[in-house]
């Protein structure tokens, strides 16, 4: 994933490039610059929203809310965090708000869209299908489905850390910026999230074996 490259030089280049886009939009009202920001980050925001909410429609709402708010408030972006972290912070608030609005949702277990036999979720496709046998693909899809369900069973603020650090490949600093917490808090939440998810995951596997 090219956009997950977090080398310092790459990060500095990205920040410079983003800074130019932000300035063009803020100073000249250049909508093409904002379009470039969307092109660059919409997939990351969608992926985050999907992994947080588990539904394609919710992920789309998260992307929409994020970019509408970014359009309105980009003038307030000070560049202390990266543009991606700033957008993820808006997206993270949108995910938590979305969860609160789902009044009928169980407090603990958020059911994800059924992935079906192929393991594809929403518009997600299983990775490297050519290298796996059909049996492997089914097994992989089952394990990934259990993982998604286990992640859904933990509080959103812990899930966000796990999604950003483990699945999106953000550094501790970037995750901290995206969630508005300290790097120390990221470490603590990551450890607790891993422990909670694995416990849920194990109990689902045992439940399946006993059934």
């Amino acid at each position: 994933m090219a956009d997950s490259d977090t080398t310092p030089q790459r990060n500095a280049d990205v920040r410079r490039e983003d800074g130019r886009l932000v300035d063009r939009f803020r100073e000249q009202g250049d909508r093409a610059a904002f379009q470039q920001i969307i092109e660059k980050y919409e997939n990351r925001i969608y992926r985050f929203g999907f992994r947080m909410c588990g539904h394609r429609e919710d992920a789309e709402d998260v992307v929409q809310d994020t970019f509408i708010n970014a359009f309105r408030y980009l003038k307030d972006f000070r560049g202390e965090a990266s543009l991606l972290s700033w957008l993820l912070r808006i997206a993270s608030s949108a995910c938590i708000k979305k969860r609160r609005l789902r009044k009928n949702e169980p407090k603990q277990l958020l059911e994800f869209e059924d992935s079906g036999e192929t393991g594809a979720v929403g518009n997600a496709a299983p990775s490297s299908p050519g290298r796996l046998t059909p049996h492997d693909r089914v097994a992989q899809a089952e394990v990934q489905e259990l993982l998604r369900r286990a992640m859904a069973a933990i509080p959103a603020n812990y899930r966000a850390v796990l999604v950003l650090r483990e699945m999106e490949g953000l550094s501790g600093k970037e995750t901290a910026e995206a969630l508005g917490i300290s790097e120390g808090a990221v470490k603590v939440r990551l450890h607790r999230a891993r422990t909670m998810v694995y416990k849920a995951f194990e109990s689902m596997i045992h439940g399946k074996q006993e059934a």
Binding site: F50, V63, F71, A125, V143, K187
Partner: protein, 94 residues
Amino acid sequence: MANKKPEHRHCAKLLERMSAYVDGELGADCCGELEKHLAECPECRSTLEGMRRLASLCRECREQEIRQSPEFKARLRALLTEQEPPESPRRKKR
């Protein structure tokens, strides 16, 4: 990962360091202490394996392609085209 509560008196304290150990972020002194404990505690070894397995599963998910539909992308662009441009303080001054 075992679901039982750690029995060893050091387990709870060391469990807090397990994530940092999995991420290679634990200092040499702490690593030594943890590894010594792991050698004699099957429950913590099991927890470590669990953490590593979870990290590996999450990494596999990184490769999973999750994309928006072209219809949604078009809708998003249309919606943003309709938005009034925000009033920039810098532009106001000019």
